[in-house]
């Protein structure tokens, strides 16, 4: 045993550590996880990967930094959230090694409070102070005409909203690695920005559905009896509705916005979570440690969410991973059918639908690349879900 492992053993091995140990045993799981992290990085760094504004440019002898000027408030919010998130993860790692277990919970709680308040305040400040700018300067033309020099462009020097009717529907080439679409936008660039849509739909929708599902399931499972009977009938009614068609119907009535799609997917797909949590709470309610917690005089809130929920969360975690894949898929399908986000906002499903052009030509690159993106993302989440389900196997749950 290595020195570090020994030290950890002294501090006790938590359930979480055992699960993560089990999870990384398989190479495939790690590959999927790395792929998901990669997707995140791409989504966060999109403006630096694909942008028609140069990082630096010298115009009339003066240095300009157009990329940074053209960043919008939402970009800054994403950066802030990503940085705080990474710092928080590093802190958790550090806590595990440096902080005495006795105060670890309190320390973690404080860190999370600080992080979320930083994000909260930061987002408000960003929206107040970052002006809305529209930089329509064509820097490439300036470089070509010799007015500007020393320009450093992003690897993919196109904006996602750029239209260029001269280079419409071009197959992959040196200039456009994955070709262009019907209005001449670069496909790779739109794929990169599209990952933002897919990931945020996945996470926000699943976040909404998990919260609703957990709350409903916890109450039904803990109280049982009449509450449970009535609640379950409502859940069953929700389940009997074909969700996809419900979503299409609702979307037809509401304005096409990303937020609406997230909320609609979220509030229509919580039934699975509710049923899982209910079943778990049914079992847990009779467990001795729950009885013991009640006999200590703990309030209901603490019993439900501090003592029962962590023991019954496993199936919801697994379901959430599948849920993210599902939400990404639903968003793609909606966009494919034209109910998704409105152009020019890029979305994978919407790009897919451009595969057959108005002139009837089959543009294979517009079908293949977004299709692959959807395929790999959904598959990665599904595989992680499977792996998580195996790692969370109750056999592991210690006796």
């Amino acid at each position: 045993m290595s020195k570090q492992a020994k030290k950890k053993a002294n501090w006790g091995v938590s359930y979480g550590e055992m699960v993560s140990h089990e999870f990384v045993k398989s190479k495939l799981n790690v590959v999927c996880l790395v792929f998901i992290v990669f997707l995140f990085a791409v989504a966060v760094l999109a403006p630096f990967l694909a942008n028609d504004k140069p990082f630096v440019i010298r115009i009339d002898g003066q240095l300009h930094f157009p990329v940074f000027k053209s960043l919008r408030a939402s970009d800054y919010c994403i950066f802030l959230a990503a940085i705080v998130g990474i710092v928080q993860l590093l802190l958790i790692r550090r806590n595990r090694r440096r902080v005495d277990p006795s105060i670890r919970g309190a320390v973690l709680w404080r860190q999370i409070c600080i992080s979320s308040s930083i994000i909260f305040v930061g987002v408000i400040l960003i929206f107040v102070f970052v002006p809305r700018r529209l930089d329509a300067t064509d820097y490439k033309a300036m470089v070509a005409s010799g007015r500007a020099s020393g320009a450093v462009f992003a690897p993919i020097p196109y904006g996602y909203a750029r239209t260029d009717l001269k280079s419409r529907e071009q197959p992959p080439s040196r200039e456009h690695w994955l070709g262009t679409d019907d209005v001449g936008s670069d496909v790779l660039c739109r794929l990169i920005y599209g990952s933002r849509i897919s990931l945020s739909v996945g996470f926000v929708a699943v976040g909404i559905s998990s919260v609703i599902g957990i709350a409903v399931g916890a109450i039904l499972g803990y109280f049982g009896g009449k509450v449970d009977f009535i609640g379950m009938r409502i859940v069953e009614m929700m389940m009997a509705i074909p969700v996809f068609f419900l979503i299409i119907t609702i979307v037809a009535f509401f304005p096409r916005s990303l937020l609406n799609i997230m909320i609609i997917i979220g509030i229509t797909s919580w039934t699975g979570d509710a049923r899982f949590i209910r079943a778990e709470f049914f079992k847990l309610r009779k467990q001795d440690f729950v009885q013991a917690a009640v006999s200590l005089g703990l309030p209901l809130r603490s019993i439900l969410f501090r003592h029962m929920l962590p023991n019954g969360i496993a199936p919801v975690l697994v379901n959430a991973t599948f849920g993210i894949a599902g939400a990404i898929f639903i968003e793609a399908a909606l966009s494919f059918l034209g109910f998704g986000v409105a152009p020019p906002t890029p979305s994978w499903g919407q790009m897919l639908s451009l595969g057959v052009s108005t002139t009837g030509r089959f543009l294979w690159w517009l079908t293949l690349f977004p299709g692959l993106a959807i395929f790999f993302t959904v598959m990665a989440y599904n595989l992680v879900g499977e792996a998580l389900r195996d790692a969370l196997d109750p056999k592991l749950r210690i006796q």
Partner: protein, 331 residues
């Protein structure tokens, strides 16, 4: 019955379960009182309602299907049955604590034992986290766990059954309750550990003067440790007495049967006696005295078959519910 020496008095408490198959009268008209700093034992066969009695005192009966249908439970001058949910929460864990039969499953697997003890301490006492952790380690030392500073940060699955039961006890006594309810605290443990745990309870009782309600079906344990005993049969208490008197002269035929089935040193040549028949199902109790189908004294008596005897004082300090007990008469 209420005087300065009484900590808890249970008066005519009945608890029923209203199930689909009918009403299970799990506890009927049960009365007893527990003195300060004494150990009170509740004995009886499996299913006779011991745990339900204990849970009724803590107001932990799952409702529905269960309900405490009558009686009073007076603890420190207050009737626990009329307290609000908030008030009873301040009694639970703080004034009355409980330990359960199954130490393997009584601790939450996702938190360290220290976390769980600290939660119990901080729930009822205003203490900083650091102080509470020191207290937790101190309590663990008190219950005889070696190297407590180390052990506080371990998870339950890293401990043996005996150690977990010690942790349970540590959690229960961390707020210095006046009454500790121990529902078969040693049934799941092996014999040597059983004695250690019971010794520990004795020790803690001497230190902080709490009363113990010890639920068990081990009469040997009762003879050794209890000050007072109540014998329960089919949801009623059939005999209550000082433990020495009870063992010297059992009055109820059921108690007599139980004592005869107790193995004794020196008498090992003879086969142990058993009480014939089985405990009746609480959904289908026999009429009259519930013990009469198994009783060797009154099985053919008309009165035993039709009228149920109540618990009566037959002489000073001896309560019994049997038509045939000497000095028993319905008042």
């Amino acid at each position: 019955m209420n005087d300065n020496q009484t900590l808890l008095s249970v008066e005519n408490v009945s608890t029923h379960f209203f199930t689909e198959d009918g009403v299970a009268r799990a506890v009927q008209d049960v009365s007893f009182s527990i003195k300060k700093a004494k150990t009170f034992a509740l004995v009886g066969e499996s299913g006779c309602g011991k745990s339900v009695t204990a849970l009724s005192i803590m107001r932990l009966i799952p409702t529905p299907p269960g309900q405490i249908v009558g009686g009073n439970i007076v603890f420190e001058g207050r009737n626990l049955l009329t307290l609000s949910e908030k008030q009873i929460r301040q009694v639970r864990g703080n004034r009355i604590a409980m330990i359960f039969q199954e130490p393997m499953t009584s601790l939450n697997p996702v938190y360290t034992v220290g976390n769980q003890i600290v939660e119990a301490i901080r729930l009822h006492q205003k203490k900083s986290i650091r102080d509470a952790w020191k207290d937790a380690a101190e309590t663990l030392r008190k219950v005889g766990i070696a190297d407590p500073e180390q052990r506080v940060s371990e998870y339950p699955h890293q401990m043996s059954g005996g150690m977990r039961q010690r942790v349970m006890i540590a959690m229960a006594v961390s707020c210095e309750p006046r009454l500790l309810i121990a529902d078969e605290p040693t049934t799941a443990l092996d014999v040597t550990i059983q004695a250690q745990i019971l010794d520990l309870l004795d020790e803690l009782q001497k230190q902080n003067g709490m009363s113990i309600l010890l639920i068990t079906h081990d009469l040997g344990v009762v003879a050794e440790r209890a000050d007072d005993v109540a014998v329960m049969y089919a949801s009623r208490i059939v005999e209550v007495a000082d433990s020495q008197k009870l063992f010297a002269e059992p009055l109820h035929p059921y108690t007599q049967g139980l004592l005869k089935s107790l193995p004794r040193l020196g008498l090992s040549a003879k086969r142990l006696q058993t009480i014939s028949g089985t405990v009746p199902d609480p959904l289908h109790f026999p009429g009259g005295c519930k013990f009469h189908p198994r009783c060797c004294v009154g099985c053919s008596d008309k009165r035993c078959q039709t009228v149920e005897p109540r618990l009566m004082e037959v002489r000073s300090g001896r309560h019994v519910a049997c038509w045939y007990a000497k000095g028993y008469e319905e008042k």
